[in-house]
């Protein structure tokens, strides 16, 4: 018997956005409060898994046309290039730098290159989790 998933799908439409926003907040706040790239990435992939539960693989693939294996490669590339970037300034490997900038809307903000490393971790975690889950889900 075909069941009707209307309630789950409607709640998913709202909740997935809330989960993704919260994961971005955790990711950006990782330097000063608990959180960071790993938890943020896991939570973003949780939102995508929730979409996969409420809809099916093809709908989510049409909604988010991302190849997660390329996403892993991009994340590794970003992390590796932030590490390699310390060579340009003749600093020891994995040296990170920060400074204060006056951004247009946000005002005085401290920007740190460790965020870029964390962005790589974030992308790799999303990519690995979604690759595992989609590979298991597709094999009948």
């Amino acid at each position: 018997m075909k069941t009707n998933d209307l309630i789950l799908q409607t709640v998913t439409k709202v909740c997935a956005f809330v989960i993704i926003l919260f994961s971005i907040s955790i990711f950006l706040g990782g330097h000063y409060s608990p959180g960071g790239g790993f938890v943020g990435g896991l939570m973003t992939s949780c939102a995508i898994v929730l979409l996969l539960l409420a809809y099916d693989l093809k709908t989510v693939a049409a909604l988010l046309p991302i190849d997660y294996k390329i996403m892993i490669a991009c994340g590794l590339l970003i992390s590796a290039s932030t590490v390699a970037g310390s060579w340009l300034f003749h600093a020891p490997l994995m040296t990170h730098a920060y400074s204060y900038f006056n951004l247009p809307i946000l005002g005085k903000t401290s920007l740190h290159t460790a965020v870029l490393f964390d962005l790589g971790v974030y992308l790799v975690v999303i990519g690995v989790t979604m690759t595992i889950i989609q590979t298991i889900g597709e094999s009948e």
């Binding site: 069941t3 309630i7 789950l8 709640v11 809330v18």
Partner: protein, 119 residues
């Protein structure tokens, strides 16, 4: 003012803990899946929301720390916990878990029979 809010926060937390205990007793004592799920999803949801609201008020008034994540958690639990209860109950019904033997009404059974007859 601060003392009153402290009392209110404490009362909310105690009320939430009491509702969680009520949910636990409901899960232990009620006869079938659907009544247990009814107790667990409703009572525990309101209990957790009360506890979170008490915590939020305490940290806001006492420490001046407005924690928007707690508000988000309250809204999120309010939205998702009944849906989880609904899905568990429906999965139980669709996999043929029987109702309590003293149940008098099963409207979904009649609807399913009508749908079967139309096919």
């Amino acid at each position: 003012m601060i003392e009153i809010v402290k009392i209110i926060a404490g009362a909310l937390i105690l009320f939430g803990a009491f509702l969680s205990v009520v949910a636990t007793f409901g899960v232990i004592r009620l006869p079938d899946v659907y009544t247990r799920n009814h107790a667990a999803s409703k009572s525990a949801t309101l209990g957790v929301m009360s506890i979170l609201l008490g915590t939020f008020l305490y940290f806001w008034i006492e420490h001046g720390h407005f924690n928007s994540r707690v508000i988000l958690a309250i809204v999120f639990i309010f939205a998702t916990s009944p849906v989880a209860g609904h899905l568990i109950s429906r999965a139980a019904y669709n996999s043929g878990v029987p109702l309590w033997e003293k149940s008098v009404q099963d409207d979904l059974k009649g609807k399913n029979q009508i749908r079967q007859a139309e096919k």
